[in-house]
């Protein structure tokens, strides 16, 4: 039980995927907009992250490993993630029509979110057990959502800031992401 809890805290705060492994910085920077749509994006990304980490676990252990096809895993994982992401797009446009205009963008952001792929690869490399895979997926999803929401509100504030010309746009966003990562270093050693 303690192990599982530590894994969850670790994935959310101490080893936050976005900040320590940096595969998911892109959607962080592109997701500006109304708080409500950012929360919806965070929720859907979380769902896809969790489903795809579980799905990829099954695919790896019951399909790729027995047939000796582990070298195909990157391509297969991307296929699983893209399928899940498009499915989520369909689900959004059916259940929440007010976001249907954004569902294409969401699908794109989730598919290109390297956190999903990175998560699956990290799980293989650690040869995680099934419960550990689920919890790690949950923690990564929570950590990603937390950052996405905090960062989008912060970026809204940055829009009114008098940034020197050479640093405007993505430059200051990346510097901000760096400073956020600096802050999260404080959680090092929690696990």
């Amino acid at each position: 039980m303690t192990d599982i809890l530590l894994l969850l805290i670790g994935a959310t705060l101490a080893n936050n995927f976005v900040l320590t492994q940096q595969p998911a910085v892109y959607p962080l920077n592109s997701a500006a907009g109304k708080l409500r749509s950012v929360i919806v994006l965070a929720a859907i990304t979380s769902l896809v992250l969790m489903l795809s980490s579980v799905g990829n676990y099954w695919v790896y252990n019951f399909l790729l490993l027995p047939f000796g096809l582990a070298f195909l895993r990157t391509v297969i994982y991307l296929l699983v993630i893209a399928t899940l992401a498009s499915l989520s797009g369909v689900v959004i446009s059916k259940t929440a029509p007010e976001f249907s205009r954004l569902s294409g963008l969401f699908t794109l952001l989730i598919t290109t979110n390297a956190a999903a792929l990175g998560l699956a690869l990290v799980n293989d490399n650690n040869s995680s057990s099934f419960p550990a895979t689920v919890v790690y997926g949950l923690g990564t999803a929570a950590g990603f959502s937390l950052l996405l929401i905090l960062f989008s509100v912060l970026r809204e504030r940055l829009m009114f800031v008098d940034v020197p010309q050479p640093f405007q746009g993505p430059a200051i966003a990346l510097i901000t992401a760096g400073l956020v990562s600096l802050a999260f270093m404080g959680f090092a050693g929690l696990v």
């Binding site: 708080l35 929401i149 905090l150 509100v153 912060l154 809204e156 504030r157 940055l158 800031v161 008098d162 940034v163 020197p164 640093f167 200051i172 510097i175 901000t176 400073l179 956020v180 600096l182 802050a183 999260f184 270093m185 404080g186 959680f187 090092a188 050693g189 929690l190």
Partner: protein, 321 residues
Amino acid sequence: MLQVVLACVPGTAALWFYFGYGVLINLVWLCVLAVGLEALVLILRQRPVLVYLRDYSAVVTAVLLAVALPPTAPWWLGLCGIFFAIVIAKHLYGGLGYNPFNPAMVGYAALLLAFPVPMTRWLLPAGVTQALPDIGTSFALFLDHDIHTGIDAYTGATPLDKFRQHHALLVSEFWKGTAVMGQWSGVGWEWVNAGFLGGGLYLLHKKIISWHIPLSFLLAMTLLAALFYDGGSSQSHGSPLMHLFGGATMLGAFFIATDPVTAATTTRGKLVYGALVGSVVFVIRAFGAYPDGVAFAVLIGNLAAPLIDRCTQPRTFGHSK
């Protein structure tokens, strides 16, 4: 802003008394650098230099970073830290009033990650050590000369750092066997904290800061510390008094967390923000990798402040919610 510098005097004086001239050297060096860098950036951006320098915000940043640096800090440590604080954390965002993160704490956190060894080389306080480094030795340390000979006689782990390693000892046994532990917390540190508490109360009296952030900061920390105190067993994370008067608690609660630019601004938001920062400080001290966590906790609080403000917006007068 000059009032803030004035309010730092008692705490800084206590630091000087217990840790020697290094504190003053850091203070002067960082103030000079901060004003210089601020002027340089203003000239580069073609802004009126004197107008902006007169708000003394650069000096406040320098003072807050200087009292956080160890008194043995060499000159380049302060230079790197204040560069991070003034240029990156403040002026890349457009200067005073725009920066999302507290400049002094960005400088401190960056230094702690980049140069962990000089950043943790604290002196033993007066009263525990035979003698503090005299003014000549302090200057030699500042100029980065001669570091390896003799300095080991003066340095030692800070009380909070020591306490993390009390392992199998009961708190009372640990207290008796450890010279740097004083009445409630570390020798010297209790007075440093008392000094900053006094300065903080002066700021409250002058209505420069409001009571919300310091109170909820200290309350959250006290509650958590009491919860994990464990009656002083070998698993204890220390008494609330040790946490309140140890490390950078009072400096953080009254001087750093209350920065009007980077903290939450609504009334309820301030209470949430203070409690968040106070809790994170305790969590880092008790369970994290660092002996003290004020800098990181304030940065986490800064990150959360816009969202806290958003969620605690007061009802507009005359409108229902």
